[in-house]
């Protein structure tokens, strides 16, 4: 058992020997730590290290098998979310707990008044929410319905909910996973204000630079145990990453590419806009064999339109699409698969997998109608299962077995299955849309190395990412997309992040046009 005492003052929160088992899995193994007033602790760990379980115990969603939680010296009764709330613990969940069709005010007021009371006291509440918004820099329109808010605004509502209930300890579970860099900065400002006002924060993340930026102390969880506790100022990203993974990390370093023939060529293509988001305008692009083409851009600038077009989900309204020199007609998802385009979709939960299907079923989603998965219109489940087992073994998908529902897998393992599904088909072209978003370091490195391997084997890879570091590391040639327009290609090493940033903001396009 590891114990770590905070440096100054009485702890506002003390966890002692928390242990939680799910069947044979020990999710938390004797975890103890203290949180001081005005302190920001980062809880760092890979997916499945036990961070979320620990916080759910603290918040009373689960009851621990052993150990206790003390808030301001009082032991919390296990398994009662109400008790943690009353004691001043506020939690901002990774998946927001907001009612989408109700207003911001209604969501904040929910559960704050005794149920059997007339009137909601909206006027006083409104004044209080306005004051909190001002003090903590959480700007949001109280009368707007949640559905109309951006993700960043929704998170502000979640934080306001906690503050409205006089939370003294804020727990934020992966708060930045869904935020843009600007929104992340705003969140950090809010947290600094909160700490200055005497609140304490537990910040759960696996993004190292954020952890370094916001926290004073970092607790690292690995396989359910506290693997280390370090002062943020005295460590660096490399050390934290190694504590997290328990081994040395080697970031991917692709060798020099040997580009071959163009496999997929877009010539002056335009597509329909997607709701609020732009379609493509006059886009010409050539994806060459043995090359990773990086697509940089701020989210929502036409990346989705390009990915949909190349995946067969959208048709060009102008221009032409050629695959291996042949002009494409009758474009559809099935035609894309047949043409040898492997697709790693942006949202693995929504379009990449079917949550309640097994790994086997998900492994053959694109090929179920062909041998070996089916013959003469009948499914061959044995062959399908063998295929799934192949992927599981070859791509290191950690799971109980091929008959497990994919919903139960972590994001990283789900992504490995999708990756395996794509790569096993030996695709000529790979469309990787945000392939490592939300994954932990181990999985990120793995997926990136696999893409490099596919490139070296002669595939044309299109890497769409909002992470400039990733684009700069992996891409042999970089295009920037902005409002549906595509820049020319910049070879590796010719562009600095700041240069790309200018293109991403739409400069450079004007005189090019």
């Amino acid at each position: 058992m590891t114990s770590e005492t905070a440096a100054q003052g009485d702890p506002v929160l003390r966890l002692s020997g928390i242990t939680k088992r799910f069947g044979a899995l020990v999710a938390n193994d004797g975890i103890s730590f203290d949180l001081a007033r005005g302190e920001v602790i980062a809880l760092l760990g890979e997916n499945g290290a036990g961070k979320t379980t620990l916080m759910n115990i603290l918040f009373g969603h689960y009851s621990a098998d052993a150990g206790s939680v003390e808030v301001f010296g009082q032991t919390l009764p296990p398994g009662q979310p109400g008790a943690a709330l009353k004691a001043g613990v506020g939690m901002v969940h990774q998946h927001f707990t907001l009612a989408d069709n109700m207003s911001v005010m209604d969501n904040i007021l929910l559960g704050t008044e005794p149920l059997w009371r007339l009137g909601l006291g909206r006027r006083a509440a409104r004044a209080r929410v306005a004051a909190l918004s001002r003090d903590f820099g959480l700007e949001v329109d109280p009368d707007e319905t949640i559905a109309a808010l951006s993700v960043g605004e929704r998170q502000r509502v979640e934080i306001l909910k906690a503050l409205y209930r006089d939370a003294k300890i804020l727990i934020l579970d992966e708060p930045t996973a869904v935020l843009t860099p600007q929104e992340t900065n705003a969140l950090f400002l809010t947290l600094r204000k909160a700490v200055a006002l005497g609140l304490s924060v537990i910040f759960i993340s696996h993004k190292l630079h954020e952890v370094m930026a916001i926290s004073s102390r970092v607790l690292v969880l690995r396989h359910g145990r506290l693997a280390g506790s370090v002062v943020a100022a005295e460590t660096d990203r490399q050390k934290l990453a190694e504590l997290m993974v328990g081994a040395e990390i080697t970031p991917p370093a692709p060798s020099k590419a040997t580009p071959g023939a163009p496999l997929l060529v877009l010539d002056r293509v335009a597509t329909e806009p997607q709701g609020q988001r732009p379609g493509l305008h006059d886009v010409s692009l050539s994806l060459r064999a043995g090359q990773i083409t990086g697509l940089a851009g701020v989210s929502g600038n036409g990346q989705g339109a390009l990915a949909d077009l190349l995946s067969g989900l959208a048709l060009p309204t102008e221009g032409s699409l050629e695959i291996v020199g042949e002009r494409v007609t009758g474009w559809s998802p099935r035609a894309a698969i047949a043409a040898g385009i492997g697709r790693i979709p942006e949202d693995r939960h929504r379009t990449g997998t079917i949550a309640d299907f097994t790994l086997t079923e998900n492994a053959i989603l694109e090929t179920y109608a062909q041998a070996p998965a089916s013959r003469r219109g009948w499914m061959d489940w044995r062959a399908a299962r063998e295929r799934a087992e192949d992927i599981i073994a070859q791509y290191d998908v950690r799971c109980p077995g091929p008959q497990t529902r994919i919903r139960l897998l972590s994001g990283g393992n789900m992504q490995k299955l999708i990756l395996g599904r794509v790569l096993q088909g030996n695709p000529r072209v790979i469309i990787a849309n945000q392939p490592v978003r939300g994954l932990d370091i181990g999985a990120v490195t793995y997926v990136q190395n696999q893409l490099i391997k596919a490139r070296d084997a002669g595939a044309a890879v299109l890497l769409i990412s909002e992470d400039l570091d990733e684009i700069l590391t992996l891409s042999d040639v970089i295009h920037v997309i902005s409002e549906g327009r595509l820049s020319r290609g910049f070879p590796r090493g010719t562009m600095k992040p700041a240069d790309l940033g200018q293109w991403m903001a739409g400069q450079g396009f004007d005189h090019a046009a």
Binding site: H61, T97, A99, D100, N107, L109, G111, P114, L120
Partner: protein, 315 residues
């Protein structure tokens, strides 16, 4: 055409509209409460039958009329409790449970009827609620006889709409109820019990449905007979959708449906009645409600978690 105008300007027509609407209003409010909390209650048809029977037999056995209303409500709450236990903590399919409750409650009512009155060939009559006048209002020309010469239960139906609307939009309880139908994990995260809120809504809502059934036996007619609910429960489910889950708009829907129903009865007496079989007139309210539903439900605000059982700890 003038015959239709004659009907529309007669006070008795409007009095009939309110009378026909009353059971629909009770049951629609009951269904609306259930659905706002996230539970579709298809037991409504059977619960109306058991309410009609229980209210009537209680009065027949000597209870006062309001006692009958109370007994009807309790009978509905009992079947609501069964529905709630099966759909909320057990999380069973709301469709299947609802149909089961309708079959169970209906046959329980018929069975109890045969058991309690084995000898009779035609059901005995009770002395039902009589219209009461409201001083001042009932003496107004046209409006008085049209709107203010109703039985107490009809006034009570309108009062119920007011209470439901106030609770839903102006109290912490109503806020929690609406939230539990939108996103139960939001409610759980605030330390409230999803199970208690949903079960409470289903039980209370079912009680209201049963009062709607009892209206038929102890206010509209004076007796209980088979098939008397005659699909009114299903109409109420449609009315909730038509009203986009808002009490006031659902009330409007109930009145509209009742107006068509009152109109078709009167149309049968006119010269049109000789032109087409009377069954065509019987169809009018249903055809019009389907049309209205098509038009209205396009902008419906379905509670996001309707028909989604909530299991704690599952994402």
């Amino acid at each position: 055409m003038s015959e239709i105008v004659d009907i529309l300007i007669s006070a008795s027509f409007w009095a009939a509209v309110l009378r026909i609407a009353s059971p629909l209003i009770f049951a629609t409010m009951g269904e609306l409460i259930c659905e706002r909390a996230g539970v579709l209650n298809l037991g409504i048809e059977g619960i109306m039958v058991i309410g009609a029977f229980a209210g009537w037999i209680a009065v027949y056995a000597g209870l006062p009329l309001w006692g009958g209303v109370a007994v009807a409500m309790l009978s509905g709450m009992f079947f609501g409790l069964i529905h709630a236990v099966l759909t909320v903590p057990f999380g069973l399919s709301q469709h299947v449970v609802g149909i089961g409750i309708t079959l169970l409650a209906t046959s329980s009512a018929y069975y109890a009827y045969r058991l309690s009155l084995p000898e009779v060939s035609s059901p005995p009559r009770i002395e039902p609620f009589q219209p009461i006048d409201i001083p001042g209002l009932s003496d107004l020309p046209f409006v008085g006889p049209a709107l203010f010469s109703q039985t107490p239960l009809t006034y009570f139906a309108f009062f119920t709409v007011l209470v439901v609307a106030l609770v839903l939009y102006r109290t912490p309880l109503g806020l929690a109820l609406r939230a539990v139908g939108e996103n139960p994990s939001a409610v759980e995260a605030q330390g409230l019990s999803v199970t208690a809120l949903r079960m409470g809504a289903v039980i209370v809502g079912s009680g209201l449905m049963a009062v709607g059934g009892a209206f038929l036996t102890i206010s509209a007619f004076s007796s209980f007979f088979f098939e008397m609910v005659n699909g009114r429960g299903w109409i109420c489910i449609a009315l909730v959708v038509f009203g986009a889950w808002s009490p006031s708009r659902a009330l409007l829907g109930a009145l509209l449906f009742a107006a068509f129903d009152a109109l078709q009865v009167r149309l049968q007496q006119t010269s049109y009645g000789t032109l087409v079989p009377y069954q065509v007139f019987l169809m009018i309210p249903y055809i019009l409600s389907i049309l209205a539903l098509i038009l209205m439900s396009r902008r419906a605000n379905v509670p996001a978690a309707l028909m989604t059982p909530y299991n704690r700890g599952e994402r």
